[in-house]
Structures are given as C-alpha cells and as structure tokens.
Symmetry: C2
Subunit: 340 residues, 2 copies
C-alpha cells in the first residue's frame, strides 16, 4: 500500500507514525546497526505504509551535492546515432552510480563555459561529461583552472593528456583489426578513407590503417583519402581512388558515413552485390540496415560510459585525485559479405 499523496511525506511524519524521533528514522535508513532491531522494523513499516522517500532537495542542501552530472547536448549532425547510444549508456551508468544525468544546451562556445560555471555555482550539478572534445579544446583548461570536475569521452588532443581525465577507445587498434579482417579475406590493396589530417582521432585511425598494412607487408601509397564527413564528397573521393590504375579492392573507413559513401561509389556486380568490400567505424544502425549489412568497428559504449562516470565520481568525491586516462579496445563486428 502506498501513501495517498504522491509527494510530500516527510521524515517527521514517518517518525510520528512510528512513535520515534526523526533522527531515528534517518538512522534506520542511513546507518542501520545504530538502531535496535524492533525499532528499525517498526520504522521500516511506517516508511512502507506512508510511501516515504527522502526529499532530494533537502538532502542536496544538507550534503552540498546534487548527485547530478551535467551533459551539454548539441544539435546532432551526421548519420550515426552514436550520441543517442552514448547518452543512453551514460544515463544508465550514472543511474547505477547513484547519479542523474542533466542535459542542457548552449548557443555558442562563450555561452557554453558560462553555462558550465552557472550550473556549478548554483550547485545544480556536481560535474560534467564532455563528449565533443576538439583539438586544443579551450574548455578543458578553463574548467580545470576553476577546479570544476569533468571527464572527457575522447582524448584531449593537442593538450597534455596527463592533465585531464578521459576514457577513449584505441582507434588505431580498431582500424588495424579491420585491416586484418580484410587481409584474411584475401584483399591486398586496402584503402583508407577518413577525415583530413588534424582531427586527432582521425589521424590516429589512419595511423592504425598504415601500421596494419605495414605489418602485413602491404604498401599504402596512393591508397589514402581524406575529406569532410559528407556522403557526397566522400563518394567522390572514393571514386577517384577507385579510378586509379591499380584500384583498391577494399576500404577501411574513419566512420560509417565514409563507408556508406564507399558503398555508393563502388557500385554493384551482376548479382547486385557491392564490388568493393568496406569496413566502417561506429557500428551505427545504418551499417546493420544496409543490404548486405556492413562490417564495422564497434566502440564499447556501455563500458566507456561506466568508466567515464567512475572517473567523474572519483574526481567529485576526492578533488585531490590526479587526472586519469582510460584506454579501451574497440571490437570489429564482422558481417562478412558473400565470399570471394
């Protein structure tokens, strides 16, 4: 049975119902063992009957903590719903750590740091997760200087990694796995298509391809393309790579968007199957839904979210904790195309 009023049962009402003082009720809930067994049982029954749940605002005020993690969401672009999936994983991880996830937006970069400061100053959140860290991101030193707890999903490219907390996947390893996969399927001229130099994570993914090719004793000259993450543009670049004298027979890509572009540029054979084999990155729904489905490198989002939250909670609870970086391994999801 639950109380009549959906909200507003206080600890004092429970205390009155159980014939004890409010502090005893508090002890039953927070420090069991300090209370005699039968008293505790009586209190617990009253809690149950009235449907008492401690008021969050009062707890927050008392404990000087909101148990909320802030996350700035911006207008999404691109075809992958990585953000969606990460948000879900993050909310989940936060929940199991006893935190809630608070979403907010901001108009521009300047307003953004103001928003961070406001949320901390008002005690609305205890810290932040940043998922869109750019090269030499100004926000990181800004937040660090002010002692505002935060953790990044993605490394602080262009800054001293050791100065900040982050969790990220080893993009090079993921792409190298893709190369191994394609080599094992008989390919020898494997191209790479991804971002132009300078994005940090893009460079890393490309280096994974280069290194993978080297390991298999394969050359990489003339097999790499870089362009903005846009299907039409990427398809054109893929087309020009395929028009070379000795064209690639397969591609590894920086993201699924590039991979979709390669599929479009590569064309299909008589049986309607793609002529060029391709492996994407992010394992977005588009990869699954294509026909035939596409192999892709999957980031362990749930694990990343758990680690991000773990690091953040540490930083919130012990402000003297040194920053820490966590590197995770992505995994190739193989959806083999009809054998060669």
């Amino acid at each position: 049975m639950i109380g009549r009023d959906s909200s507003g049962v206080t600890i004092s009402q429970v205390a009155a119902a159980a014939g004890v003082s409010r502090q005893t009720v508090s002890n039953v809930l927070n420090r069991p063992g300090r209370v005699a067994p039968e008293t505790a049982a009586r209190v617990r029954r009253a809690v149950e009957e009235l449907g008492y749940r401690p008021n969050r605002a009062a707890q927050n005020l008392r404990e000087r903590a909101s148990r909320c993690i802030g996350f700035k969401i911006d207008s999404p672009a691109g075809m992958s719903n990585l953000l969606d999936r990460f948000l879900h994983a993050l909310a989940d991880a936060a929940g199991t750590a006893g935190y809630h996830l608070l979403l907010f937006t901001s108009a521009g970069v300047d307003e953004e740091v103001v928003a961070y400061e406001e949320l901390i100053r008002t005690g609305t959140v205890d810290g932040f997760v940043l998922a869109d860290v750019g090269v030499k991101d100004r926000r990181l030193p800004w937040l660090a200087k002010r002692g505002i707890p935060f953790v990044c999903f993605g490394r602080p490219w262009g800054l001293d990694h050791a100065r900040f907390s982050w969790a990220d996947v080893d993009g090079a390893s993921g792409v190298a796995q893709a190369v191994d996969h394609l080599v094992s399927r008989g390919h020898r001229r494997i191209a790479y298509l991804g971002w132009p130099a300078g994005t940090g994570f893009g460079d890393e993914r490309q280096s994974g391809w280069r290194e993978g090719m080297r390991r298999h004793g394969l050359g990489d000259e003339g097999l790499s393309g870089g362009c903005t993450e846009d299907v039409a543009v990427a398809a054109a670049v893929a087309g020009s790579l395929l028009a070379r004298p000795e064209p690639p027979t397969a591609f590894v890509c920086g993201s699924d968007t590039y991979a979709v572009a390669v599929r479009l540029a590569g064309g299909t054979d008589a049986g309607g199957y793609p002529k060029v084999e391709v492996v994407g990155f992010d394992d977005s729904p588009a990869a699954t839904l294509m026909s035939p489905p596409m192999s892709s490198v999957r980031q362990p989002l749930a694990e990343i979210a758990r680690r991000v939250v773990g690091l953040l909670v540490e930083e919130i609870q012990g402000p003297c904790t040194p920053p820490e970086g966590v590197m995770l391994r992505p995994e190739l999801v193989s959806r083999p195309e009809p054998g060669r």
Copy 2:
C-alpha cells in the same frame, strides 16, 4: 572579476559584504522595486564581485519544486536520429522555460513506473515528457491516476485523447503533402509503404496517403504495403509491389527507413539514378546524405518541444488545468530528383 571559490558563496556572505541583511539581497534579486536604488546598486555590486548565484537545492527545498523535467531514454533502434534531435530541442525548450532536463533509464516497463514514482516522490523532477507512447499505453492512466504531471510527444492512441496532454504532428497531412508533391511531378501510381495496421500513427499516415490519392482521383488498390520497420524486410515488400503488372512509379513511406528500403529495391537506371521516386518521413540525416538526396516529411521538432514543455509547465504549476492536445503540421522538404 569572479569569486575565488567556484561554489559556496551564500546570500549571507553577499549581505555582509554589502552591509545589509540577507533578506534585502533576496529582495534585490527577486523583488526589485521593494529596495532603495542605492542599496540595490550596492548589493548588486557585491553579488557581482563575489560571483554569487543562489543555491538551487535551497531554492528547491523552499519552493517545493525542482524545476526539472524527467525524460526516460531507452536504447535507440532504427536509423533515424529523431530521438537525438528531439532531445536537443527538448533540452533547449526546457532551458528557455527555466527548467532542466533530467535523463534516466529503466530496465523494463514495471521498473519504469517505479522510477517515475520515485523521481516524483523524492522531488527530483516536477513532471515528465513521454516520447514513446504505444497503443493503449498503460503508463498514461497510471501516471494520471497518481496526479503526476506529464505530457506526451505523440497522441495517446487507443485511449481517450481528451484525458491527456500531448503535442503531435498530423501524420496524415504530411503524407498527403508527399502525395501532392509526387502527383505534381507526374506520378499516378503512387504506393505506400509503412507499418502494419495497429500502431496508431502508422494507420494515420497510411490514411493520409489513401485520402490524398482519392482527392486526386487516383486508385489505391494493390499499392499499399505494411511490414516491420527493417530495411531488408521492407525492401522485399517494396520489391513485390514493384513486381506487379502495373507497378507503382513512386512511393510515399511511413519513415525514412522504409524509404531507404524502397531506394534499394527500386534499383537505378543507366545514369545511376533511382528508377522509383520516393518520399520519406522524419527527414533524418540519411535522407540528406543519400545520393541523390531524398525528399522527406519533416516534423517541426523545435516547435513540438516548445509546446510539450509549455503544456507540462502549465500542468505542473496549475494542477487543475484540464488536459490539452496540440496538433502541428509537418512540412514536406522537397529535394527533387532529376526531372522526368
């Protein structure tokens, strides 16, 4: 200049700095006009110098409101990132209404209602937005019975619409616009592909197609297909419609996922252009990124979010407000394929 400590400047400290009482500071901030001009100026300067921002937990406790809106996010499926975009719009709308958006997850339907009750009981949120309302959704009467404020994005199909607050787009109108568009481009055999009967919104979208065809004096027999929202399955259904004696020359679809499937099933002509013209629904990035880009019906997400938040805030502030439904018009985003 900002205070040294990122958090923890209290109203009393400001009062002391300005040489007034804490209540005067409160009045300056909340009830200007009650305070003499020079006193107000002095207080404002102190606020500025110390970087004072009122503590949210204390306000929440006093005012018995969290100014937070809860939103349950579940593991996303499908290729559209509608949820992403809606979340951004919602966070934005909530922000301008003075609310924050609190995300949470839940394991199953039973845990979900428990989570709703917990969040309300503890005063963590003031109300909810539901974006995944199913036919005869049990959660709606459950929440309503308990007097928990909530607003749906999407109509409460299978329930009395007048009993709940919601904002939604007129799916029939959107699909009818798509039919008009295709007719104006010379098509006469226009097929529909969407969900099987029984989803509410799917039936509505189909009825928009049927009505549109009727209005143009066109027949609809044998031109409708329904199946799960899965590219492979939908492509097969589209293929079977295209294999008929008098095949459709164009399709309108329940979602972009169906539309992508039609593109795949329809094949391309000598010039590499799709043989079948298709209009999708949701205007997901996939529609833009396809080659050539695809027309699609766009839901006014920002407006929907504003209305949803508006209705919810009303319901939170005046619990006696009667439920209200808001219907908005979606808009066809035309990306014409090469002329016929």
